[in-house]
């Protein structure tokens, strides 16, 4: 169980700085997910924590001890790579035992730990095989097993599911979730660009963009109270509808008028927001056509994507090219070309100021 503390961590490649001072504390036994679009620096940050890249500035502490210049093995980390990175010339058993053999563990102890890990991951029948004789999912399990055997202080995952097909991905995700339960004392850090993985696995999510931390919080915090426009649109699928709007105070209440939409009356919001331009955000799943809440938008249905239990309805409103997306129950009959009215409850609406920062309502 290791606690991590990152203080003003920076990383430059030559003159190009890719991480601009990351501050983060990770509690012992926590499962933290780094998420962000490609190029945001999440994998680089993971490699800095792993000790595979040199830290350009700031300090990294494990349990209060600075480990900036310690090797990966000295830090006591284990890592699962996207490409599995199994040694092709070694059997599954040797792959899993390699780290412990180098660490000088006794033969019996190694055998016991490898068998144990293999049992957990159900790869015991393959111990004598070479990696090339395994399927993608089996290989990834071996890679996870290799990390378990080392009994690490910090367990790192670098996009471990990206090379698997959709069905295997779900299955392996569940296995990782089980692993998290089983190894509750081990701190785990998981990098992904897939927000579903982030939402389902994480105790806390760190959203990164362009080398900065945008927000840190539990999955539900990020979903319900995104700190800014970026997080609001990144978390949740399909992403939040954002529409430019005008705000006008009316006593303690606020009247918001989205472009191409109807006025919405937000009681109490007048205390925190002044008059002027504002960004109005509402999630597709919060829009209804049943007339609940206040009607906001009206427009033509241009596309319907039926997913079975639900359907995504793209609505074009007057004066805008950007269609609104509404996630409606699958049983409703919505025809392309129909004119519909979308409503929303005032308490699910999010407002963002001109800089994209969320306004606390």
């Amino acid at each position: 169980m290791a606690e991590l503390k990152l203080t003003d961590i920076r990383k430059s490649f030559g003159s190009l700085e890719v991480l601009h001072g990351i501050d983060l504390e990770i509690r012992g036994g926590e499962f933290v997910v780094f998420v962000g679009p490609s190029g945001c620096g999440k994998s680089t940050l993971l490699r800095l924590i792993a000790g595979l890249e040199d830290i350009s500035g700031g300090t990294l502490e494990f349990d209060g001890q600075v480990v900036n210049h310690k090797s990966p093995a000295e830090r006591g980390i284990a890592m699962v790579f996207q490409s599995y990175a199994l040694y092709p010339h070694m059997t599954v058993y040797d792959n899993m035992a390699f780290g412990m053999k180098l660490g000088g563990g006794g033969k019996a102890e190694i055998e016991k730990r490898v068998r144990q890990a293999a049992e957990i991951l159900q790869i015991t029948p393959y111990l004598d095989r070479l990696p090339k004789q395994l399927s993608g999912g089996q290989r990834q399990r071996v890679a996870i097993g290799r990390a378990i055997v080392r009994d690490p202080r910090v367990f790192l995952f670098d996009e471990p599911l990206s090379n698997l097909d959709a069905a295997l991905r779900v299955q392996t995700r569940i296995e990782i979730a089980r692993l998290k339960e089983r190894m509750a004392d081990t701190t785990m850090i998981y990098v992904t660009h897939d927000q579903v993985e982030a939402m389902t696995l994480a105790d806390r999510i760190v959203v990164l963009r362009a080398g900065y931390v945008e927000q840190v919080g539990t999955p539900m915090e990020l979903y319900h109270t995104p700190a800014n426009l970026f997080v609001a649109q990144f978390i949740g699928s399909p992403s939040m509808n954002i529409v430019a709007a005008r705000a006008t105070r009316d006593g303690e209440a606020l009247v918001v008028e989205p472009e191409g939409g109807r006025r919405m009356y937000l009681p109490g919001a007048g205390k925190v927001v002044g008059d002027g331009p504002i960004q109005f955000g509402v999630r597709p799943e919060d829009l209804t056509i049943s007339g609940e809440g206040q009607p906001v938008f009206e427009g033509l249905v241009t596309l319907v994507e039926r997913l079975g239990e639900s359907q995504l309805v793209y609505v074009e409103r007057p004066g805008s090219d950007e269609p609104l997306v509404a996630k409606l129950p699958g049983h409703l009959e919505v025809e392309r070309g129909a004119r519909i009215e979308l409503s929303a409850n005032p308490d699910v609406v999010r407002l963002f100021d001109a800089d994209g920062k969320a306004v606390a309502l």
């Binding site: 490699r47 792993a50 000790g51 595979l52 090797s71 990966p72 093995a73 980390i77 284990a78 890592m79 790579f81 996207q82 490409s83 990175a85 199994l86 040694y87 092709p88 010339h89 390699f98 780290g99 180098l102 660490g103 090339k132 290799r146 080392r150």
Partner: protein, 310 residues
């Protein structure tokens, strides 16, 4: 033929090694396409094999028969005397012990040169590919630049260096020269091969606690057999066939086989003994020939694996 899927699998010598085309046999064996392909191949191989044939045939004839002038005719009376003479009795200057002395010299030169140069170059290439130390690029550029400097420029400076070191004219001196001159191209070869091995393997090994040498011996080496074979072939044939360095940096009693061959074949005194010359040439060429025959398949695969980044 090398199975194209075998090329991309690094270090997996087993893959596709059974060779040959897969799937059902083509129905028409004498299609126009096959006739054209095999016809061309046969013509080209005859073109290359004819000189070899003439050499072998001539080396097995006696001088009277050679003087008849039918160079393509098979020997009427096979004699191995020219081979014996070429190996043990032919004279170069004052020595009359044939090529045997040169053969031993060449072995003593080639074996350590090949081993030392490959050991150093593979570690160089590994360090350059995986441990991006400060100045690695500059070092690499300088090394590669070395490959483009004509040997002639360095001949005399090298003589002075060897003289100052006190090893001019010795076999050790020539071993040093071969090792140094093989370094740029071999390092390039190894670096490119190691670069093509997925970086994550290297990182996984570091996470597992392996250091510089452990990764080299336990991870990189077992995965790089093909490129070691390629390097060995390049070095063995290159050093064995070398004439220039041999003639410049050795003395008559340390001449390698190629220099001795030249002295036998080009001697201006006495009768030209074509049969002995042919036998001597074949003897000298035998080592690279055998190497190619044994490892031709591995050679092709190694070259391809280094070139195609996978």
């Amino acid at each position: 033929m090398v199975d194209p899927t075998g090329i991309t699998l690094h270090g997996e010598v087993g893959a596709g090694a059974d060779g040959g085309p897969r799937g059902p046999r083509p129905r028409r064996r004498f299609s126009r396409r096959n006739i054209f392909i095999y016809g061309t191949l046969i013509v080209v191989s005859v073109y290359y094999l004819l000189p070899l044939y003439v050499m072998i045939v001539t080396s097995l004839k006696g001088m009277p028969e050679i003087r008849l002038g039918n160079i393509f005719a098979p020997p009427m009376e096979i004699t191995f005397q020219p081979w014996v003479k070429a190996w043990a009795q032919a004279c170069t200057g004052l020595n009359c012990d044939g090529l045997s002395r040169g053969f031993m010299n060449s072995v003593i030169i080639t074996v350590p040169s090949v081993i030392i140069s490959i050991v150093i170059a593979s570690v160089n290439g590994y360090a350059l590919a995986n441990w991006r130390f400060k100045g690695a690029d500059v070092f690499f550029t300088i090394l590669i630049f070395g490959a483009f400097i004509p040997y002639q420029v360095m001949l005399y400076p090298m003589v002075i260096i060897l003289r100052e070191m006190g090893i001019y004219g010795t076999l050790g001196g020539l071993v040093l020269v071969h090792t140094v001159f093989g370094m740029p191209i071999l390092t390039l070869l190894f670096r490119n091969y190691f670069t093509s091995i997925p970086e994550e393997l290297f990182k996984a090994a570091r996470v597992d606690g392996a250091g510089f040498w452990t990764i080299y011996f336990k991870i990189m080496l077992p995965m790089s057999l093909p490129i070691f074979v390629v390097a060995m072939i390049i070095q063995i044939t290159g050093i064995w066939n070398d004439f220039l360095f041999g003639v410049v940096y050795t003395r008559p009693d340390t001449y390698p086989m190629t220099v001795q061959l030249n002295n036998i074949v080009n001697s201006v005194q006495g009768v030209k003994e074509y049969n002995v010359n042919m036998a001597a040439t074949l003897l000298t060429g035998l080592v690279p020939l055998v190497i190619y025959f044994i490892s031709g398949k591995l050679f092709v695969r190694g070259i391809a694996a280094g070139a195609v980044k996978g």
